[in-house]
Symmetry: C2
Subunit: 508 residues, 2 copies
């Protein structure tokens, strides 16, 4: 309202806050749809969600927002790069420029087509019928090629796949990710081989068999309550495919499912999702309701979930702390089990068919295989019709498993049905970044694991807040890793940690 | 997009659908806030909700919407009054004209002030301190006067209170409502006196005392499942102040609370809220996502909740059907109780202090007292500072009860704190309309109660759908009652029914 120069930044903040509110409201609609909505509500929910998305997008690409960004940019140009205000303008500008590149018609077609493809995928997976899914996949790839073509000359994009990757891992280039994941693959395959050849067998029977769902729910709630997540700022619900979402940094929705024949989900999947929630919860209040409030790098987000899941949750100190509770809740099954047995079970390595059920080591090969196939699809090296064969070959090559049918192979994940090429690699980037963080934490907080053994998890959370969470979404992943660990993304720490754990379990 | 004349109506429909989506999304945010939200989410939730309300309102009062309404009005002028298209234009136009009358600054001030007043009311009620609340009440009344003044010359408004009433009961005038409620008051007071003087006592001990909340939850779910509400289109959750809300006509959220010392809420409050839900659920698909989808007369809405609660739920046939289930769930408390005992307890009359705990007969006097005081506030006959005394006097006069403090008197309801003057009378209008409907139903479906005794409730629902629900929000209350029962609003049927029930219970 006021003509003073400082007001443009304030106006920009308010416009961005509204855009943020619309996005969060839509997130609540999605959470509700997956956890609470009566089934008959599905049809109108899709329309409600589409309306919020459309209005949000209209505002995001508006000329008015562009003018505000420019004006606020003038006001903030003398501020330090890492200041809240300069970061806000920078991040908003990049988002605005990216969003403006895509014609509304193409965006609408992508939304429509991927929605149809997801429905077709559900049926195709149920009947393991890749041919029925193929036309949808072809259409998705074609639309993604057109989408990528909108970004010619943007921010130094070189590879056709760069724009796709950038939506999930801003600023990361295809060549860099290919190099990182290639190194990871070459480091992990020998570990898996060594474990297999060790002659050592790991029995995870203690985690399998019948576990009352009611007691699992109590356990899951205890697990979250035992994590250093702000009290009164979270809830836990069941769903089919677990996820976590922040309706605000102080309104965190963790979801899980309970498998009556496996206790692992109620522990590690819950810790994983709570790890995401702790990241969102750690963003400082000054950044709330802005595009800086929610970290947009999926790799960094995944670094948090995987650090808590694998390096805390599957670690011996945490399991030692949890064991008495497990024994109380499941006296028949876990009343007399040794810590060593649980620890070994939690870290068993076994090549398998399904990514979401894979152990922490082989998991990466599932991801890398998908990323490699994505690149081959987009550079034309693999025809879509040959995708099942290519998938099955590589599963044999990397994991030594024979894929019985496409439902257990190329059709197992929803990502490609949704048109989300470039998403998969962020899972393994998360593992790699978690490795770098964990390394740093071991140096800076030498007693952290001792504390974890007593259930004292706040020091770890505080370190993560101070070094990572407080930055929110201010920085691109490559800037952020530099700030946090003082160097670029590096596979070595993660490989060393895996090697150590494998050697501990398998005596390799 | 197309320049054909018919397209303006389609365009209007789409614009109104978006406005509807925004309102429904906001309703979900509110439902979540009251049933699921972690407490720390409250602050950002208020902002998210305000953003959706603001965007919805901007669209509702936009010039563009006005032009579309005019253009669509031209296209539909030859269509019958009751056609979907003509009704859509008519209802949209009235809404647009009303919304445009209020300057945005005044609206914003009303929102801000009532929000502050609601917070102040919580504290004032807790400490029974009317003086602390008085300045907020004064501010609310002053703002509502300014609000009412915006409607000079609108739609034949005569009385200063007409515009306030119109927001809850469109087209109903203060003089009409005063006449209806005056007649109701004068009819009810002798009934209460007769019951008191009958010498007959009704013991409702069977409903009071300890009832396991878990079993109450089962009961409440059974009660809803036994009603003819579309399967897969509802859910039941607990909250502090029970309500029902339609996220869509096929996504109905019923809420209740469970009082460990009283079983009545889990039955009648649940049936009441489900009655609201059945109304929303009965709106035909052609009207979904439009302003015709949600009945805007609170009186008609309340007629449905009260018809199901009082004429079905407290009727002997329904209670006879429910009793075996009550006996199974609460064997110690209700295992051996007679139907007559439960029926009498469900219809006990006892003047009391708190509206929301009042029986179905005295309830009306609570409402009428509030409406009369509202009129006196707005015509200046009662000063706000004298409100507690006026309240207490009238409680003594109408119900013969002495008010011990303002927390149990004038401070008991949130409505005035929220600035919602004109809301209360719709509760009793609902009772009156329910009486007219029930009369009609008794004539047209003479076997309906016999069926209810066997748990067959669909014929009643079907009658209500065919005669009322299918109209959605097409008609003003006065038009609607004419269409449904062939005459104007009439207190007589309701008074006759009450008289009959009182006579049955109290032998008067």
């Amino acid at each position: 309202m006021s003509p003073s120069p400082a007001s443009k930044l304030a106006e920009l903040r308010e416009r961005l806050a509204e855009i943020n509110d619309l996005g969060r409201a839509r997130a609540l609609l999605a959470w509700d749809e997956r956890t609470k909505m009566p089934p008959a509500g599905a049809e109108t929910r899709a329309e409600q969600s589409a309306t919020l998305a459309r209005i949000r997008h209209e505002r995001l690409i508006s000329d008015e927002l562009g003018r505000l960004i420019d004006a606020a940019g003038g006001e903030t140009e003398s501020l330090p790069y890492e200041s809240d205000a300069a970061s806000l303008v920078r991040v908003a500008r990049r988002g605005w420029e990216k969003a403006r590149r895509v014609p509304p018609d193409l965006r609408a077609e992508i939304t429509r087509t991927s929605s149809l493809a997801e429905h077709a995928w559900v049926d195709a997976r149920a009947s393991s019928d890749f041919k029925a899914f193929l036309p949808h996949l072809e259409r998705n790839v074609e639309l993604r090629r057109r989408y990528a073509a909108c970004f010619e000359g943007f921010d130094g994009f070189e590879h056709e796949f760069d724009p796709l990757l950038d939506d999930f891992e801003p600023g990361m280039r295809t060549a860099e990710v290919a190099a990182i994941l290639g190194e990871l693959r070459d480091g992990i395959r020998p570990l898996i081989a060594a474990a297999a050849e060790s002659g050592e067998t790991v029995d995870d029977a203690c985690l399998r068999g019948s576990f009352s769902v009611e007691a699992q729910e109590t356990l899951a709630r205890d697990v979250v309550a035992g994590l250093p997540l702000q009290e009164g700022a979270w809830r836990l619900d069941s769903t089919i495919h677990p996820f976590a979402v922040a309706i605000s940094p102080a309104d965190l929705r963790i979801t899980t499912r309970f498998d009556p024949d496996y206790i692992g989900t109620a522990v590690w999947s819950v810790i994983h999702e709570a790890g995401h929630a702790m990241y969102e919860n750690g963003v400082p209040r000054e950044l709330w309701r802005s595009p800086l409030a929610s970290p947009s790098s999926l790799g960094f987000h995944e670094s948090q979930s995987r650090l808590w899941e694998n390096w805390v949750g599957r670690g011996r100190p945490y399991l030692g702390h949890l064991l008495p509770r497990l024994a109380t809740l499941f006296p028949d099954r876990l009343g007399a089990v040794e810590l060593d047995t649980v620890y070994r079970a939690a870290n068993k390595i076994e090549p398998s068919l399904i990514r979401v059920e894979a152990d922490q080591v082989t998991y990466n090969l599932h991801v890398i295989l998908r990323f490699e196939l994505e690149l081959e699809i987009f550079n034309g090296a693999t025809e879509l019709s040959e995708l099942p064969a290519a998938w099955n070959d590589r599963m044999q090559q990397y994991l030594g498993v024979a894929v019985p049918d496409d439902a257990h192979g190329v059709l197992q994940d929803v990502h490609w049905a949704g048109g989300n090429f470039g998403y998969f690699p962020t899972y393994s980037l998360g593992n790699v970044i978690a490795g770098q963080l964990w390394d740093r934490i071991m140096t800076e907080l030498p007693d952290v694991e001792e504390g974890i053994g007593r259930g004292e998890l706040a020091p770890l959370r505080d370190w993560l807040r101070e070094n990572l969470h407080r930055h929110g979404n201010k920085f691109m992943p490559k800037e952020l890793i530099q700030r946090v660990v003082g160097g670029p993304i590096d596979v070595a720490p993660y490989l060393r940690q895996l090697e150590q754990r494998v050697s501990e379990i398998y005596g390799t």
